[in-house]
């Protein structure tokens, strides 16, 4: 009986957490213009989404979101990995301080990060638009990459870099042939994390996108909602995004579990 209550508590909690998403998902399969009206099962919104039945604004917003996320994730993976290797080679206090400094931007509220970046771009006179959004996304994604690469470096046998040098590798060859393969799983997880964070972002983007008409998905939906009523096609779109993010998260988790199991076998 006790177990039953414990179980139902868990399910209730999960239901509350996922209810909004499930509602969007369910109502993406109906034609009603207003969310909440069920007019029978239909995949019309999906077909309309993919056959150009929606405004060009939405599609270009989706495109912007994806390209920005890809660029930001790639660049922050590169920067974050290099930074992690640097931090790993530091000793004592210096390392603690840098690790701490790396953690602050992650704890900082997005809105503050957004305003700060906005002020920065204005003060150095950078025209706000696509470039500034990419730069801003790189800035807030990089610490997460550092965080996901660091554990791989810590697990690594510290002598393998020296072993590579000893066998005739130049420092660059040792990095490429030994260190990178060792931290690659962390880099991939970091990339996926950065990608999802970038897609997800609203607060930073709204402050750095300028007024040249650049929209990402999140800012587009916000503007759309304010104009009066959500475009119905946003329902299937949200569902697709949710499923994609869910898949990515499952991949990250499976990967890290597999890595942990591999470590145990050694």
């Amino acid at each position: 009986m006790k177990k039953f209550f414990a179980q139902s508590y868990l399910w209730l909690l999960l239901a509350l957490l996922y209810a909004p998403i499930i509602i969007i998902g369910v109502f993406s399969f109906t034609e009603a213009k207003v969310l909440g009206n069920w007019t029978g099962f239909s995949t019309k919104l999906y077909t309309s989404l993919f056959s150009g039945g929606v405004s060009g604004g939405l599609l270009s917003a989706v495109e912007n979101t994806l390209t920005i996320a890809l660029i930001a994730a790639a660049v922050s993976t590169l920067l974050g990995s290099i930074a992690a290797i640097g931090i790993h080679n530091m000793r004592g206090r210096k390392r603690q301080v840098i690790t701490f400094l790396n953690n602050i931007p992650m704890l900082n509220p997005d809105i503050i990060t957004g305003i700060s970046l906005f002020l920065l771009f204005v003060s150095i006179g950078l025209t706000q638009g696509y470039i500034t959004v990419v730069l801003a996304h790189i800035a807030f994604c990089t610490p997460y990459v550092v965080l996901s690469v660091m554990p791989r470096l810590q697990q690594m046998n510290p002598n393998i870099y020296e072993a590579a040098l000893d066998l005739g590798a130049t420092p660059f060859q040792a990095l490429r042939k030994v260190i990178i393969p060792e931290i690659r799983p962390g880099m991939i997880s970091g990339f996926i994390l950065a990608f999802t964070l970038s897609i997800d972002d609203f607060a930073v983007t709204i402050f750095t996108k300028g007024n040249q008409g650049l929209e990402t998905l999140s800012t587009f939906i916000y503007a759309d909602a304010r104009k009066g009523g959500l475009t119905p096609e946003l329902r299937p779109l949200s569902t697709i995004i949710f499923v994609t993010v869910l898949l990515l998260l499952i991949i990250i988790n499976v990967r890290s579990r597999r890595a942990a199991r591999k470590m145990e076998n050694i």
């Binding site: 046998n157 002598n159 393998i160 020296e162 072993a163 040098l165 066998l167 130049t170 060859q173 042939k177």
Partner: protein
């Protein structure tokens, strides 16, 4: 100069400090071509640091490492014609056995057919044939170490460096690998520089043993020399079991210790000179009949050690000796003992009392060891520079560290038959030597104090 050509690595005046701590202090070492050299010492003695400098992972503060006559001090590790076997193997986890071993050859652009034959030969050498495709993480510790050795020797280095390669293996495996390494050394003919803290391993494997302690080389010699003729009490204590005793060299070939006079084979120490004597436990003959013996004693303990029994005997003059014999003697029984003259090894005493450099701070106080000591009237004025000497048995060690004039940590303990000779490291990094009957443990923090009358002050000129 055949000797010059024979020398493959020459180390001159090599020093290194990490912050304030000196880890290598003016090391000079010649390593001959084809030799099996072991750097032996307790942890923290600088042996691994020295090896890492030869490999090129660390830079010396001063001094030169020359290989075949050329200075390689500034050569980065990847350009040095030597290879290392690391303590924790350091295999590349993302590569299989074959690719691990081929790593160095591929970097050197060796043709792939040659790589293939050399890798297979190396695997055969370490008895790992047919393991090419295995994932290195699936191998046991011993197998990983074999792959690590193969990965190093496949490059045909001029010198192979081994950093405690067997430390992580169990005893049986270690013994097997020792024999294999020795055989491999003979077959390959390359110079091995081997680091270990295991004295037995060093004696078994090496042509030459370099005993190190405190960043200094204590003794260089063949295993037999090191065991039979240790130059000081540290080496005698570190290599094998030993009785180290205070002694007086009465004249050539005659030495007095544990209250008896013995005939010995050493000469040239002078008359009535204080010396240290080393007697190995297996060199003291023990008989049940006490009457015809050189000296007698009472058996205090007797422990079976496999091949022999290890006994502690209190002699007729109150000294405690360690003995090893194939026969057991009953605890409490009186036994007779004698020692052959050739089994008594006489060593110069490193020091006979503590000597510190200091400065008078007033006519009755002196500054030594970073603190002020009362010293009584000695006719010297404040500011004069002095030497202060204190006998070993006049230094007082106190349980309560605040009670002493300075604080120190017990660093090294030597039992001398009837008392302990301790080395105490003060906070300022100076060493104070103490003779005491009290039992202290290594690492104990103690207070050090000296009575005013026991400070002997002489003016420094």
């Amino acid at each position: 100069m055949t000797n010059q050509n024979n020398c493959i690595i020459k180390i001159e005046h090599l020093s290194k400090a990490f912050g304030d701590k000196v880890v290598l202090d003016d090391i000079n070492l010649d390593i001959r071509r084809g030799e099996f050299v072991t750097l032996l010492g307790p942890s923290g003695c600088g042996k691994t640091t020295l090896l890492r400098m030869i490999a090129g992972f660390l830079k010396a503060d001063s001094g030169v490492i020359a290989m075949e006559g050329t200075d390689i001090s500034d050569t980065p590790p990847h350009r040095r014609p030597l290879n290392t076997v690391f303590q924790r193997y350091a295999l590349f986890p993302h590569l299989n056995v074959y690719d691990n071993i081929a790593f160095g050859l591929k970097l050197n652009k060796v043709p792939s057919a040659e790589i293939d034959s050399r890798v297979r030969k190396a695997l055969k050498m370490v008895s790992m044939t047919d393991y090419e495709d295995r994932d290195v993480n699936s191998l046991s510790g011993g197998q990983q170490q074999r792959v690590a050795i193969a990965r190093a020797i496949v490059n045909r280095p001029k010198v192979l460096l081994l950093d405690e390669p067997l430390a992580a293996l169990d005893l049986k495996m270690r013994k097997d690998m020792q024999m294999e390494l020795k055989q491999m050394h003979q077959e390959l003919g390359i110079t091995f520089i081997y680091v270990t803290h295991d004295q037995e391993e060093a004696l078994t494997l090496s042509d030459t043993v370099v005993v190190m302690s405190d960043g200094k080389i204590q003794q260089i010699g063949t295993p037999i020399d090191i065991y039979n003729e240790p130059v000081n009490s540290f080496v005698a204590d570190f290599i094998g079991e030993s009785n180290i005793l205070n002694a007086t060299m009465i004249r050539d070939r005659e030495v007095e210790f544990i209250g008896h006079t013995f005939e010995c084979v050493d000469e040239g120490f002078g008359i009535n000179a204080p010396v240290d004597v080393v007697v190995r436990p297996e060199d003291i003959y023990i008989i049940a009949n006490a009457e015809n013996a050189k000296f007698t004693g009472e058996v205090k303990s007797c422990i079976f050690k496999g091949v022999h029994y290890e006994m502690f005997v209190e002699t007729d003059k109150g000294y405690e000796l360690m003995l090893q014999d194939y026969n057991a003697f009953e605890v409490g029984s009186t036994v007779g003992m004698f020692i052959k003259p050739s089994d008594i090894h006489v060593m110069q005493k490193e020091r006979t009392c503590n000597t510190f450099e200091g400065k008078m701070t007033s006519p009755t106080t002196v500054q030594i060891l970073g603190a002020e000591f009362e010293c009584g009237e000695c006719g010297l004025q404040a500011g004069e520079e002095v030497y202060v000497s204190v006998n070993f048995d006049r230094v007082e060690l106190l349980d309560n560290k605040e009670d002493g004039t300075v604080m120190g940590e017990v660093e090294f303990i030597l039992y001398k038959g009837n008392r302990y000779h301790l080395t105490v490291l003060t906070d300022e990094g100076e060493k104070v030597y103490v003779d005491t009957n009290d039992i202290w443990d290594k690492g104990d923090i103690v207070g050090i104090s000296v009575a005013a009358a026991d400070l002997h002050i002489t003016k420094r000129v």
